[in-house]
């Protein structure tokens, strides 16, 4: 187990919420002090615009900003120019569909995705398919709800042009066997887009080894600030993509009736970017690296085993994922609406998610309106889970009184 007591000292939110059991990490994670400090340092000491100014402060700001990009690149083993910033992972994934997808997809082409996806990984392709009269196909999840190579083999064919899949399910905590899938996908001529939002802070990612074409994640799920998303794109593919947005900062030479644009990644980033956020994310990734992605994964797995062991003794509980790979448990109390349970937990400062978790397709597959989701991270300990269990017991004795 990680030294949770020491880690919590790095997260100022715990000083203001001493009794909280924060178990909604799949929605967003808390922010360490170093990230807040470094963002504040930018605004306090050299908070000016980047790329344009020739004065000292602008140079400092530009240096800090671009150091952020280098850190992102090295974190996932990409090159500097392969990292493009957006406002979140959703926007980054939309960008791929709106640029590469618009330019390359034709009527009758096929796109493969899964019912396990976050809406952000499906909807850009679903809408593109409607516009292009392309065919959207869902690979069949196995009995426990996992994406498998066998299921991909069943539907991939010469017409497949895009495979868009999540790296980690934000409902079940399953890790997609992405490397094995991509080996299979490479037998066909198609694009692989990976939604790594739920994976970025929980397992090591190496885009070269993975051999994906695009991979997106959001900063806020990786200890960084909100309002920032990252898209990795393979150099050769990014080179062939035209800008989607035009205006400030992305131009090379502007003439009255046409213009030329900067090199990648800058040609894709229009206007003044989220400077403080990019700086903050760099330090967030440093923090994750210091703890170690493998240690994080182990910590989460240990907490998950402990939680599942305790939860299985509770009456009326339905668990939807009995063997998650990472720290996410999806569950319900039989016959009780998850919002009613969440309100009970809330009064004991146990914070879980209740809803469809931005993944309505999998909720529909399970034939439930919504579920509860407890998700763990580096600052959670067994005491948090004990609190969850105690609060659940209270809810159970209330909603099933008289039994």
């Amino acid at each position: 187990m990680l030294d949770v007591k020491r880690i919590r000292k790095d997260f100022p939110i715990y000083q203001n919420n001493k009794d909280m059991a924060y178990l909604d990490n799949a929605a967003t994670v808390l922010k360490p002090k170093i990230v807040l400090d470094k963002m504040n340092e930018y605004y306090t000491n050299f908070g000016v615009n980047i790329h344009r100014g020739v004065y000292k402060l602008s140079y400092l700001a530009t240096q800090a900003y671009e150091k952020g990009r280098s850190k992102v690149a090295s974190f996932i083993n990409a090159s500097f120019e392969e990292i493009v910033y957006f406002k979140n992972a959703s926007e980054a994934l939309n960008f791929v569909a709106l640029t590469w997808g618009e330019a390359n997809l034709q009527e009758g082409d096929e796109i493969i995705t899964s019912e396990l996806e976050h809406h952000s990984s499906v909807l850009p392709w679903q809408q593109l398919a409607l516009r292009k009269k392309a065919v959207l196909r869902y690979l069949k999840l196995d009995e426990s709800g996992r994406i498998t190579v066998e299921a991909l083999k069943e539907i991939i064919n010469e017409k497949t042009k895009v495979v868009a899949l999540t790296l980690v399910s934000n409902v079940f905590g399953y890790i997609t066997p992405i490397e094995a899938l991509i080996k299979e996908i490479r037998k066909y001529n198609c694009l692989v887009v990976v939604d790594a939002a739920q994976g970025i802070a929980h397992l090591p990612i190496d885009v070269k080894k993975m051999d994906c074409d695009f991979l997106a994640f959001s900063s806020h799920k990786a200890l960084g600030p909100t309002g920032l998303g990252v898209l990795y794109g393979k150099k050769d593919i990014l080179k062939g993509i035209k800008p989607l947005f035009y205006g400030g900062d992305m131009i090379d030479n502007v003439e009255l009736y046409d213009s030329t644009y900067r090199e990648m990644p800058y040609r894709f980033e229009v206007g003044t970017p989220a400077i403080a956020e990019v700086i903050g994310l760099g330090y967030a990734l440093d923090y994750l690296k210091d703890i170690g992605l493998d240690n994080i994964k182990k910590h989460e797995q240990e907490l998950t085993c402990y939680a599942l062991e305790k939860m299985k003794d509770l009456k009326h509980i339905i668990i939807y994922n009995h063997n998650p790979d990472l720290g996410i448990i999806a569950f319900n109390l039989d016959g009780v609406h998850p919002h009613d349970v969440a309100t009970f937990l809330d009064t004991d400062n146990v914070y879980v998610r209740a809803g469809h978790h931005c993944a309505q397709l999998i909720a529909k597959k399970l034939e439930i309106v919504a579920s509860l989701r407890a998700s763990f991270f580096i600052y959670n300990d067994k005491e948090d889970i004990d609190k969850l269990i105690r609060a659940l017991k209270k809810a159970i004795s209330f909603f099933y009184q008289g039994e």
Binding site: V336, H337, H339, D340, F344, T347, G355, V369, A370, F398
Partner: protein, 145 residues
């Protein structure tokens, strides 16, 4: 725990488990959905000579949402439109914790505890909003709130 007991009083759970006027009969209706949480309620009402002759509900949601719809129907059946509009606006005040005399709301008075749970106010008000819209002549197959 007191806040919770207040929120989930027996009368609320009773309406949840044994709802009044559940099931649509084909009167003018409004279907409201809260996509964030999945609450999904349709209220239908037939108004004759300024009086709500029939009112029914149908849908899915948490206990607060469903119980509130049941209480709404129980309260409004046979009442005048002007009474209904007054009580709807009182109910909005009630769930926001404003002081007032709420006895005329009947069982719905028991939803006062929602005020302590701001995230749940919309659960309580969705059916009332739907009736308000029907009475304004705003009938629709489906709307988001």
């Amino acid at each position: 725990m007191d806040n919770l007991r207040n929120l989930y009083q027996a009368v609320i759970m009773d309406h949840y488990h044994n709802p009044h006027n559940k099931g649509l009969k084909g009167y003018p209706k409004m279907h409201l959905k809260n996509p964030a949480c999945g609450d999904d309620i349709t209220i239908e009402a037939e108004v004759q000579d300024g009086v709500i002759k029939h009112i029914n509900h149908q849908g899915n949601g948490c206990s607060i949402c469903c119980a509130s719809a049941s209480m709404l129907c129980l309260l409004m059946e046979g009442k005048s439109v002007s009474f209904a509009k007054k009580e709807i606006s009182k109910f909005y005040d009630l769930v926001q914790g404003k002081d007032g005399d709420y006895d005329s709301l009947g069982d719905a008075n028991s939803l006062a505890g929602v005020a302590k749970f701001p995230a749940r106010i919309r659960c309580a008000t969705i059916s009332w909003k739907a009736l308000e819209m029907v009475l304004e002549g705003d009938v629709d197959e489906e709307k988001e709130i």
